[in-house]
Amino acid sequence: MALATSQQPTAESSTSAVPSSSSGSTSAEVFKRLHPSQYLSRFLSKGYRPDGRKVRAWRDVSINVGSISTAHGSSLVRMGDTTMVCGIKAEVAEPSAQSPNQGYVVPNIDLPAICSPNFKPGPPGDEAQTYSNWLNDLIVSSRTLPPSSLVISPGKAVWVVYIDVVCINFDGNAFDAAVLAVMAALRNVRLPKAKYDEETSRTICSRTENHPLTLGRIPLSCSFGIFDSTHVLPDPTSYESPLLPTSITIALDEENEACLVRQEGLGGVVGKSGERVLGEAWTIAEERSKELRRILEESAI
């Protein structure tokens, strides 16, 4: 217990340099590495997280849009130290024969080797593939970008919207950050006005006229982890995530309607029914998504 209390003030004051081994308190560093679970539980018993925030607190979020000139829409999201860049590029394709009035939406999340020592270079790993699928499900099921709005000429030409999210710094809770980045970038997209020419069967785009995308529901995701069947921790970092056997993700739209609810892993909180735990998380998520939505609104200038 003495270790944790002695560590607390430094952890509170330090903002980002936690993983660097250059800090003076080596015994605390060693303890942190060898007994991560105890290290975390001592912090939690004092009401704090290892990165200095309160147990129920979220990390600060900032959004920057439109900084990548090679994309039709882009955003950079920082959630604590987790950094995501989302770039959206549109291309033109022929619609499939089954659905001539549908464009394509192709979301992908990449967690390249640059963002964490745990990821290897090469094709997307399991985690990245999982997140890509979650993101695709979320966008399709909540009709954020209806494929029917991407038609240039029925049966002839449609837009393909490639949504690519690249993680630059992985400090946990990548999915929340990715969803926020995608929504910010989608709002930033300006597509050129396109016209399909029947004679040449080509699509020609205007250089001067453009329009934003027609967007449906904008879901924002909030994730939690449950530690030791006692603590529900919002917005887990990459240090905490491996110690949290249960994770809950709730994505809500503008009306606080659920777009995605997912709980993974066995186990809830001792002394509370699963329903109550989920209800509590929901209440926190409602508040958080309102806050995220405010930041999202402010990001668009």
Partner: protein, 281 residues
């Protein structure tokens, strides 16, 4: 076409083409564009910052002209057998799919491999690898925005040096680089025979348009602190004297980049409270 279906990504349609824009209405705009308000010996401003990627041992982020690159360094970390008396440098450049025009579809993009190789070669002489037996240094670069290949390599070398230094890995000197392209003056672009008679203009840090109209370009990687050159990459057709002049100019320009690089490293060190004595309480 569909030889191997990529199951690891959300698939798009088999074929999609980048938007085709209508031809420019007035021809004047399409003509040879002037440099955006800078002289021929002036590089575009560089923004460089170290230590942004907290997960990495060392990192850097650079914005230089139309290029944005994030770089992180992991290591030195233990390397799997066989035993090597020297450290190994692994370097990978990756382009984000949205980083260039047209879009770079994953798997179909073959450019990064030779680029990684070129950058490794120009970076190798700067690192004291003999001090790191049995270890490897992993350098990863993600290109978030790019215009020309040479600019990517040039900015890549600078940011990789910054990140390696930021990781505390011992180096001989910081590596920086510069690009010079030569353009023939007073010859219409369609002429094609300008290389002999026309006076050629040497341009530092060329923009995409300038590089396209150039007769030759050279990328020089150097260690300004030691006065040594680590790599020269020339492409095009120019007289030997002219190429020597281009190299001279590039070396001179990379000294300026070196100043920016050193400044960024000092600032990064100060922010973390190392270096300046008064910072350490």
């Amino acid at each position: 076409m569909a030889t191997a279906f990529d199951r690891r990504r959300i698939p798009g349609p088999e074929i999609s083409i980048p938007p085709i824009y209508e031809p420019l209405s007035n021809e004047n705009e399409a003509g040879p564009s002037k440099r955006s308000g800078r002289s021929n010996d002036e590089a575009r401003p560089i923004f460089l910052k170290t230590g942004l990627i907290s997960q990495a041992n060392g990192s850097g982020y650079i914005e230089s002209g139309g290029v944005k690159i994030a770089c992180s360094v992991y290591g030195p970390r233990p390397k799997a057998p066989p035993y090597t008396p020297q450290g190994t440098l692994n370097l990978e450049i990756k382009f984000a799919p949205f980083a260039s025009n047209p879009r770079r579809a994953p798997l179909r993009d073959t450019e990064p491999l030779p680029l990684s190789h070129l950058l490794t070669q120009s970076l190798l002489p700067t690192i004291q690898l003999h001090l790191l037996p049995k270890s490897s240094i992993d350098v990863f670069l993600v290109v978030l925005e790019s215009d020309t290949t040479t600019n990517v390599l040039s900015a890549g070398l600078t940011v990789a040096s910054a990140a390696i230094a930021d990781a505390g890995i011992e180096m001989y000197a910081l590596g920086t680089s510069a690009v010079i392209s030569s353009t023939c003056s007073d010859t219409s672009p369609g002429d094609g025979t300008g290389s002999g008679n026309g006076e050629s203009i040497l341009v530092l840090d060329p923009e995409e348009e300038e590089e396209r109209n150039s007769t030759g370009k050279v990328l020089v990687g150097s260690m300004p602190a030691l006065g040594k050159v680590t790599s020269i990459w020339f492409e095009g057709e120019n007289g030997i004297d002219e190429v020597s002049e281009m190299i001279e100019k590039a070396i001179a320009a990379s000294r300026d980049t070196h100043t920016i690089l050193a400044q960024a490293l000092l600032e990064g060190a100060e922010e973390r409270g190392i270096g300046g004595d008064e910072e350490v309480a």
